[in-house]
Each structure stands twice: as C-alpha cells, then as structure tokens.
Assembly symmetry: C2
Homo-oligomer: 469 residues x 2
Amino acid sequence: MTDDSPTPEEQVAEKQTERDEDEFTPRRELRQQINEAIDNEDPERLNQLLEPMHAADIADIIEHLVPAKRRIFIGLYGGEIDGEILSEIDESIRDEVVEQLPRDVLAEAVREMDSDDVVDLIEDMDEPEREEILAALDAGDRAAVQQSLAYPEYSAGRLMQSEVVTAPEHWTAGEAIDFLRREDWLPEQFYHIVLVDPRRHPVGYVTLGRLLAAKRSTPMRELEEDSFRTISAYADEGDVAYAFNQYHLISAPVVDADDRLVGVITIDDAMAVLDEEHEEDILRLAGVGDESSLTDTVPQTVRQRVPWLATNILTALAAASVIGLFEGSIAQLVALAVLMPIVASMGGNAGTQTLTVAVRGLATKDLTVDNSMRVIRREALVGLLNGTIFGLAVGAVTYFWFGNFALGAVIGFAMIINLFVAALAGILVPLALDKLGADPALASPTFVTTVTDVVGFFAFLGLATVVLL
Amino acid sequence: MTDDSPTPEEQVAEKQTERDEDEFTPRRELRQQINEAIDNEDPERLNQLLEPMHAADIADIIEHLVPAKRRIFIGLYGGEIDGEILSEIDESIRDEVVEQLPRDVLAEAVREMDSDDVVDLIEDMDEPEREEILAALDAGDRAAVQQSLAYPEYSAGRLMQSEVVTAPEHWTAGEAIDFLRREDWLPEQFYHIVLVDPRRHPVGYVTLGRLLAAKRSTPMRELEEDSFRTISAYADEGDVAYAFNQYHLISAPVVDADDRLVGVITIDDAMAVLDEEHEEDILRLAGVGDESSLTDTVPQTVRQRVPWLATNILTALAAASVIGLFEGSIAQLVALAVLMPIVASMGGNAGTQTLTVAVRGLATKDLTVDNSMRVIRREALVGLLNGTIFGLAVGAVTYFWFGNFALGAVIGFAMIINLFVAALAGILVPLALDKLGADPALASPTFVTTVTDVVGFFAFLGLATVVLL
C-alpha cells in the first residue's frame, strides 16, 4: 500500500457515503444522460451510452422506464436488443417488449439464447407467439425447447439447458482433453464433464480443473467429484435451488424418468430461483401478489392487493362482531374500548413473529417432522413468558392510568392468554397448512391474525364482563 | 421411455405425495436410526449410518439435536468431524460444538478448511480461542486468514479465499495448460484463471472450458471473458451477492485498495450470502432478531423477541391514548368501539403491503432515486382506490348492521383517509430510513403501524364526534 492511499477505515467511510451510488448500479448521471437521449430521440447517443453496459444493466434500464418512454426506447434501440438483454428483462414487462420488437430482431435474439432461456421466455406465451418464436429456432434447438416444455412448470426440466458436455465413462483424461480440443461445438460456459454409460445414464462428473491437472493416462472415473448427484427432471425448482445451496453444487446433470441424461442445470439459474422463491415468500407473507413488481401499473397493483385486503376485512368483521357481543360491558366501562386494541395488537405481533420463523423454517427445511414437537414446545413457552412479561407491564400501566387494580389484572391475564394462543397459532397453522400441501406463506398470516384478534377481544372483554361488571 | 414407466403426470402426483420426504433431506427412518444409535451410545452404528452422508446433511443432523443429545453425539462421533462438516454447521451452535471437540480433532479440521471458511469460523470468537485455532494453521494459511480478518466485517475481504490460480497476462493457452499440469498445488474447486500484470493487477480471466478448447498458441488475452469484473475487498457482502446474481458470475477476483489481487470469491459463497440477506430481511420485517434460529433456546428466543414487542406496546399505547381522547363519544355511541378496529387493522394491512414492496425494492436495487417519485405516485393512487373500494364496502356493511347511514358514511370516509395515509407511510418511511442509512426492514413496520393505528382511530372517532354527536 503506498503512502497516499486511503487507510481501510477511510475506505469504509468513503463506501458508506457512497452507499446510494455503489459500484454495481449505473450511476445517476449516466441514467440521466440515457433519459435525455431518449427524450431527444437520439439513437447514436443512446448506443454510445449503452455500448459499454452489461446486458443485465440495460435490462434494468428498460424496466425502469415508464411504458410510453419504453416504447420510444425500443423504437430507437430495438435493433440492438439481443438474446442476452432479452433474457435479463423481468417477466412482468417482457411480453410488452417482445411485442414491440421488429420480428427479425426477435428471431435473431432468440437464436442466440440458450435453450433454458428460450423456455423461460416462451413458457407463459400464447400459442401463436410461441409458435412464431419456435419457428425462428433451428431444428435441434427447437427440439430441445420442446422437450423442456414437456416437463411441468417450475420443474427442473424447465430450468435445465440441453447443451451438456459428456464423455464415455471408460475414457482417460487424455481422451477427454483431446475430445474437447477437437470439438468445435461447446457451450459458452461449462465447468464439468458428465460421464455417461452406454445407455446415457450419468455415472459421475469431473471438474475441468481436475481434468487439466491429471496425467493423460488417468481414467476419468478416478477423477470424479464426491459431490456428484443427479436431479430428476420432475423435481420442483425450489428443491433444486435448495440442493445447490446445501451441497455447494456448481452444475448438476438432469435425468428423465429412466435416469437418462437430458440436460444440465448450472448454479446461476439455481441462484435466480432461490432469489425468486425468497421474493415470493416475503411478498406472500405481506399479502402482496407474489408476482408484483415495481413496474406494475396502478390497476395491476390494485388487482394484486385487493384479495388480501378483502380476506382481512372478513377477519376485521369477525373481530368486530366479537366486540359487538360485549357492547353492554363497554357502555358500562368505556376504558375497555380504550384498552382492547392493545391486547389484540400485541397478540398479532407475537403471532407474526412465530409464524415468520415457522414459514422460514419450512422453506429452508430446518423445520421438519422430527423437531416440530420441540419447536412447538419452545414457542408455547416463549408465548407464556412474553405474555407474562407484557401482561405485567400493561397491567401496571393500566393500574396507574385508570387507577383500577382489577382492570389491570384483567388486561394482564388477557395478555397472557392471547400471547400464548398467538404462539400456538403461529406455529401450528403453518405446520398444518404445509401438511395439507398449501403454501404456509400465503395463508398463515390471515389465519393467525384472525385467531389473535378474536381471542384477544374475547379474552379481555369476556374476563372484564365476568370479573368487573 | 419404456411402457411401464410412469407418465409425467403420474410422476408429478407421486412427487406431491412425497413432498415431506423429498430426495434432498435425509429420510425419516434414517434420522430415527441415527437417534437410536445416539441413545444406545453406539459409535460403530453411528459411523456406519453417517458414512455415506454429505457433510452438509451431517451438519443439519447435529443442528437438529437437543443440546444434551448433541453432547453425546460429539462424544461418539467427534473424532470424525472434519473441516467440511465444521464449516457447514450453523453459526448459532458452532461455538458450542467447537468447545466440545477434542483439541487435536479441531486443529486437524481447521487445517483442512479453505481460508474463507476458517475466517467464517473464527471471526466471532474471543481472542484466546481465535489464537488457538490460528496456531493450528501453517504459516501461509495463517497469514491468509489474518489478511482477511484485517478487512471489515461483512466485506468482500472476509468472504474471499486467498487461493487463486493466476497466470501472467502475456502467456499463451499452451503455457497456461502446461503450468496447470505441472503445478502440484491447486485449489479443490476453480473455474477460471485470473490474468495479472507484473504488479499483480488482475486484467481479465479465462474459463477453463475456453482454455481447453483453444489452440496452444492462442494468447490468453484473446480468450478473456466479457463478464470480467473485479470486486473491492471493502465492498459490502450484500453488494457482492447482488453482483453475482445480476451478472451471472461464477467467480470474481478481489482486489485491495491498490487494485492488487488479494483473493477470489466463488458463487457458492455469494449464494450463501444472498440466502442470509433474504433471511435477515424477512425476519427483520417480522420483528424477530435477525440471527434467530430454530435451534435457539427459550431464553434466547425471548430475548430476541422482547425488543420488538416492547416497541409495539408503545405503538399500542399511543393508539390507546388516541381512543382515550374520545371516551365521551364512545360512551354515547358504543358502535364506535365495535367498528374502530376495522379501520385501524385495514390501514395496517395496506401499509404492510406497501412497505414490503418498498423494502424489497430497496434490497434488490429496483427502487432508486430515479423511479421513487413514480412509485410514490403509484402507491398514493393505489391507496386512494383501495380506500374507496373498502370504504364503500365497510360503509355498506355498517349501514346494514347498525341501520345508521351517517355512521356508514363516517367509517367509509375514515377508511379512505387511513388507506391513503397507509400507502404514503408505507413508501415514504422505508425511503426515508434508507436515505438516513438505517435498515428499512428493521424499523419500517413499527413506524408504519403506529401511523396507521393513530390515524385510523383519530380519523374515525374524530369524524364521528364532529358529524354524529
């Protein structure tokens, strides 16, 4: 390190002030220049600005444009949109972009794409558009895409690419190297050679690093990685992502029902799936449509959010009718109305904590049949303890606020009941939904808050009616 | 496909009934057999059962044991715990395992680990334990680990491994291949050769696949990948994960403040960071400590959850005191108490929807300074529309329930106000927190629900007092 270079601490400080403008997103001035070029309808300038950029960043720029500007952009830059940019564009606006692209540009772009990216592009398209794109492919690629499309949605078969580098299992390292040097077709990116038996069953794989380091006479079978495992083409893509993350896989061969090699999945695709699954979980827990995106229009957004709000209004009405049962009590002691939302809201929060941990545990396979009893016991105990802590606190506040000891005791006891029930509901509801094959992230929050609202109001108002009135 | 093999549809159906016992998690019987072997204190049987298993799965088994059983397990199997298993064990229990391991086993395990895994293991340890582990390493590895530890926590410098395969930029493919075949030390897994200039600045990289396919006389510079980019050792690990996901990187060289090569990060580490960051986001949004895990004990869990519940009790008390302002109104019209939680809870739900989308957008860098105005406008409009839809619905229900048209109008109007305010708070609060350098996932939910509770009760009870009483 030379004398005038910043110290590590200075570097970190610098990083922190730069946090909005970090090195991985296009800088603000650049984005403004791009906007200006679009407004001026200046294709040369636009080309010059976008030329050094990565396809993924160009795709982001296209996504961030308002639809009217996007149309102008495609008019100016459409000819330059290639397979790489097209496969990076978010699904939510890809159809729109595809429609506006000149047909010859689209055909050319599709021909450049790997088979898995073509599948991703056309799997949600209507028949006529799909046929148009398939027609642009050469026969081999078209067959590969159609084979992929024959597997169910969200399966490994849809995720795989059919381009695989294989070698007979009896080869030596030298034979494999000679083959690679001779072969004029090889995928853009590959990291392993899959060893296959004569019936095309994969039996192992060898990393290129070990191949290069080995003696020419070494049999390939001796260079195999321990981490070898095949993935069924019918496996759920979420399980595929889990396997890559769990076993640090870089690529994995995909096999059909007869265990024959049909393709390969690489870690970058698995990482994208992991990212999407997380996104879905977080959006579902919040009751936002799991395909929602910042590029959605107002009507799309309203449509995605109404179902959850509609479900929650039923919850709220159920809670309100519980309160309605105790109108007489409230009329006698208005303090009940003041305090009752505290019990319900604390129950809701405690329930959300537990259910989030449960939903995450199910998603990461950390919560299993084996340890569910232990987790249930733990949550129940935590609920009781937190209920006691906050019951005492709220009871004390109530006593000082309203000068009524019995009211403090009632709300304290209601808190204990509701936080205990919240904990049980928070763990049992997701477990039950998972057992039934429903997505716990989607349905649990509504169930759990219904329970905590109803139990919270009922316990507090009921106890108050019995004890105080 | 032969005749007796299941059809794709049958396969999918089969998969679905198997969903609890999928191919990637150890089967239930196996886990029971392992438990029995522990209960019988039978080390041979345990060894026999665990022998075929992947280190990551053995680590999961260790995590799922209750602490008392874990101690017995380590007594029986401790000698077999190697570097691979140790680096797979979750941080929450790793210290406990390390303490119980025989010292020679620990030293041996640590010597087998890559430098990045050693860093991960010791970075949170106290000085004496850290020194003990450093002492077990040979001089070169120790220097590499200490170099990593000199970089800030959660930086690329902590994530990288120092084992990098490099070649001078002026080499040909043949020279590089000869070098790899001659070299007796090479990392376990590597996918690229980094080209460096004489001052050890990385200038490009070549995938092993392209190297193998090239003519011996081809200069390495001609084989370089377009995707080449270096990562600063001071970059935040979250930004590193973003870059891998955005640009489909498999590995990336890490450079110090003088742009000199100091290590390499591979995609499996980036994938693990992406997974952790998501986990943190989802747990923070729910107010659960972001290091919480299913293996935590009851006291640990209570300690993690109390701060959020304590914050929320302040919110609840603020809401209660707003209601307290209107005790007189409620005493005159008890229906207000019955209905008021509907307004607050719908506001809370709508606010949560918006804030989750905003927090996600900030995390994925989809929400930027450029498009924030557009997203704010969109959310405000969505809030108004949803407010109108549900205001009308709840107004109608109220009218039929209480036979009071004015009461229906009041609650409908209060809903419009609260859902509009919820939308604005849901987007503005995360944006403001992000601007201030705070984590929006951690602080937004409390702020937003405070706003929706206070505004909800105030708007409804206030309007009712003015209009109805």
